[in-house]
């Protein structure tokens, strides 16, 4: 009887311990995953502002200055793609996205194209920022077969966290990322024999206050401790970054979100765990303005130089062509200047030439386009066969065809509007546009695009007859350099 009592007592104690063991099992100690990191390929916060006005047919949009994630245009840049969505997020207005052309002021921006429909007062201007997310870590404990990795990505509370629109909240604790309808094919897991991880990860889109989770199951064999593992959500479509939190956010400061990674055994007991931080932040627009410039140099050319197929007789300066005494009559005297242009203007440049009048004795007026010797003028040459004007060139080889004219030769580039040797001529020439006679200024060199150091010689020729009245003849020639309109 005593023996029976002892057995009963022993059994009672045994069952007590057994009950306690089964009812309250030892908690497995979890360790922390090591070398853990989360990397966003695009760490820029999404842009989400309220629309104040935006009228159909116009390209400017005003935004609300309070009550939204973004209350100014500081975080919106040229070339950002915008979607104007209503508060129900039923797609973009008119199923159309727009591109930001430039930022006009703190609450106005301009689009590259006009709005095809007026925007509503409750509409939102949204520039979604999305990209890939890469999670890397090293396990501390072994993940057994049938174990898994569970990634928890924060989602904005009570938002539609899978529609591709960035979701706004007041604080980081209630905010998070939009999964943007990613699929298992967008996720890859590497490390610890890639093929032993399930190919089709389990994605659970968050709802209410529950965050998104992605579960990667271990299928064929255990993953040893100290294994380096990388989980990547690719950038197409990529998860959508949240906009700035609506309360307590400082522009330029990051909103820091925690992504939880845990490894689990087959019974979903946590083996290792860590919270890795990601910090989306407003981007900084780095820009430099390069002004369009135009550089123009006029330079003199010394005598006895060979330009336009002729040897110059006089030394010119940038300010003058001093013909001096024209001792030999019915002889063409030559003098040249060099013009050089550089510009980064995309439309190029042009240089025109004009003269205030034909050469008049002591600067006297030479009325009309062909005031000659009888009017005490050295008239503009009409070249051989009276064939050239300020816009038409002709050969000028016969010195008895007196007057003043010019030709052109490229020194660097091909910008001269005509050439001294065109059409097998020896000195193809034109008149200088006479402003006294209201002639149209003619282009001497031009280019339809940017140039660097395009250069040409302007080669002047002058010839007088033996009956030219004695005196000092002069006029003023002017070059005008501008960018092309």
């Amino acid at each position: 009887m005593k023996k029976v009592r002892k057995i009963i007592l022993l059994l009672f104690v045994f069952f007590q311990f057994a009950f306690l063991f089964l009812q309250r099992p030892n908690v497995v100690d979890t360790a922390s995953l090591t070398a853990a990191s989360a990397t966003l390929s695009n760490s820029r916060l999404s842009y989400r502002a309220g629309v104040a006005t935006g009228t159909t047919g116009t390209s400017t949009v005003d935004i609300d200055t309070s009550g939204f994630s973004d209350n100014n245009t500081n975080h919106l840049f040229p070339n950002d793609v915008l979607c104007f969505a209503d508060s129900g997020f039923a797609g973009c207005s008119q199923q159309k996205t727009y591109t930001v052309n430039n930022i006009i002021d703190a609450d106005t921006f301009q689009l590259t194209s006009a709005l095809s429909a007026s925007l509503g007062a409750n509409d939102l201007a949204i520039a979604t920022q999305s990209g890939s997310l890469t999670l890397s870590f090293t396990t501390t404990a072994e993940i057994p077969t049938a174990g898994d990795i569970l990634v928890t990505i924060p989602m904005a509370d009570n938002a539609s966290g899978n529609d591709g629109f960035p979701d706004t909240t007041a604080s980081v604790t209630t905010g998070g990322f939009d999964l943007n309808a990613i699929a298992a094919t967008d996720i890859s897991t590497t490390g610890c024999t890639d093929a032993n991880w399930v190919a089709t990860e389990t994605i659970a889109v968050g709802s209410g206050t529950t965050d998104h989770t992605i579960r990667v199951d271990r299928q064929t064999s255990a993953c040893a401790a100290s294994s380096a593992i990388t989980i990547t959500i690719d950038s197409a479509p990529g998860i959508v970054n949240p906009p700035p939190i609506t309360s307590g956010h400082t522009q330029g400061g990051a909103d820091v979100y925690a992504i939880n990674i845990k490894t689990r055994d087959g019974s979903d007991n946590t083996l290792d765990e860590i919270d890795v931080k990601v910090a989306p932040v407003e981007a900084v627009l780095v820009s430099a303005t390069v002004d369009e410039t135009i550089s123009f140099t006029v330079a003199g050319v010394s005598s006895s130089s060979s330009t336009c197929g002729k040897t110059t007789d006089v030394t010119t300066t940038a300010y003058s062509v001093p013909w001096g005494t024209l001792i030999n009559t019915d002889t063409i005297h030559y003098g040249s200047q060099q013009l050089t242009v550089s510009t980064n203007a995309d439309g190029g440049y042009s240089v025109t030439i004009e003269e205030n009048d034909q050469m008049g004795k002591n600067g006297g007026a030479c009325s009309g386009a062909s005031a000659g010797e009888s009017a005490n003028c050295i008239e503009d040459t009409t070249c051989d066969g009276a064939a050239c004007t300020e816009s038409t060139s002709a050969d000028w080889a016969t010195a008895t065809n007196n007057g003043l004219g010019f030709s052109l030769a490229n020194q660097s580039g091909t910008d001269a509007s005509f050439l001294y040797n065109e059409s097998s001529r020896t000195f193809s020439s034109r008149q200088i546009a006479d402003q006294e006679a209201s002639e149209t200024k003619a282009t001497v060199i031009s280019n339809a695009g940017p140039v660097s150091g395009s250069s040409a010689y302007v080669c002047y020729g002058i010839s007088i007859s033996g009956t030219q009245p004695a005196g000092y003849y002069f006029n003023k020639v002017k070059y005008t350099a501008t960018a092309t309109f």
Partner: protein
């Protein structure tokens, strides 16, 4: 032995002297043959920006800056002027209007712009930043106004020496910075493709297409367009962007594009669709062209005909030969039959 080495030394020295002389002569030739430019006699100027665009409201006051740089070794003095300009050509070359009364008041604004300087001197390797105040009249019409701000070093008429027949030209230089002013307000935006031309028939591609776009609006436009070449089966085989260039109001601008490859065949359609303006206006036009490499086609047809003739002749010859062979065979057969019958007779 000694004499021999001295001789070779003299020979070497002569050779070196010759080389030096050749070098000096070549250098002299190059120096004399190159037109010498007087560095100190040049006017190297830069204007920045070359073009700028501003938006103003009626009765608004605004300031713009223009910088002129002197990259030369000597100071340069000259006048600063503001003048209206227009564009009256297809190449977009601005024409500065010396007298603002010549200009259509629709596009002028030179009288709105004031500067504290009308004459400046820019030190060597230095620049001058000039500020211009724009006072927009209250009743300013919405649209574009176009102004050139230029620096003009003064030309010097060469000194007279008192000779009998003496001449000289003073040369002055103007370097302009262009300013496009957009007066805010409702404007008319209207442009059209006034000419869309390509040769109706071509032997080979690519096809040269000329497009004239006429801007009938109140402000300059910068059309963005694409030319597409559609083959006879309706597929787009080539696309070319229209060069983005400004078109002055009431002015045409000509664009040239090349489309397609060298070898094309059939009736092609060329279309141009372009967008312009602030309100998303568009314009489009299309033409049809034929591309037939007729010489190549002619050569192929001739080659086919020649080959056909050759084959026909060959066939004829072959059939002729076989006919004669048949005849010969027939004769041979008859002869054999004859011989057979003769042999039979003999045997009988």
């Amino acid at each position: 032995m000694k004499v021999k080495s001295q001789k070779s030394k003299v020979k070497n020295a002569t050779k070196n002297l010759k080389l030096v002389l050749i070098f000096i002569l070549a250098t002299l030739f190059l120096i004399l043959n190159t037109p010498s430019v007087f560095a100190q006699q040049s006017i190297p100027l830069t204007a920045s920006p070359a073009r700028q665009e501003i938006l103003v409201d009626p009765s608004e006051q605004q300031t713009i800056n223009v910088r002129f740089l002197n990259q030369g070794d000597s100071p340069i003095s000259g006048i600063i002027r503001v003048a209206d300009f227009i564009v009256d050509n297809k190449d977009g070359i601005p024409r500065i209007l010396e007298d603002s009364s010549q200009a259509s008041p629709k596009y002028t604004a030179s009288t709105w712009i004031k500067s504290n300087f009308d004459r400046i001197t820019i030190a060597s390797k230095d620049n001058v930043l000039l500020q211009f105040n724009i006072q927009v009249p209250e009743n300013a019409r919405a649209g574009g106004r176009y102004v050139a701000i230029f620096f003009e070093p003064e030309g010097i008429v060469p000194q007279e020496t008192g000779a009998n027949q003496e001449a000289g030209s003073g040369v002055s230089t103007r370097l302009a910075s262009l300013l496009y002013i957009r007066v805010s307000g409702e404007i008319s935006e209207q442009a059209m493709i006034s000419r869309f031309f390509a040769n109706g028939f071509a032997e080979f591609g690519p096809i040269m297409v000329e497009t004239d776009i006429l801007n009938r609006g109140d402000y300059h436009i910068r059309p963005k367009g694409v030319l597409a070449l559609v083959n006879p089966f309706g597929s787009v085989v080539a696309q070319e962007k229209l060069k983005e260039e400004n078109i002055f109001p009431d002015t045409l601008r000509t664009f040239e594009n090349e489309l397609g490859s060298k070898y094309m065949l059939g009736r092609y359609k060329i279309t141009l669709t372009a967008a312009y303006g602030e309100t998303g206006q568009s314009m489009s036009r299309s033409i049809f062209i034929w591309v037939i490499p007729w010489r190549i086609i002619l050569i192929i047809i001739l080659a086919i005909i020649i080959i056909w003739f050759i084959l026909k002749n060959m066939k004829k010859k072959t059939s002729k030969n076989s006919g004669s062979l048949k005849k010969e065979l027939e004769i041979e057969k008859q002869e054999i039959e004859k011989l057979k019958s003769q042999l039979k007779k003999r045997a009988d």
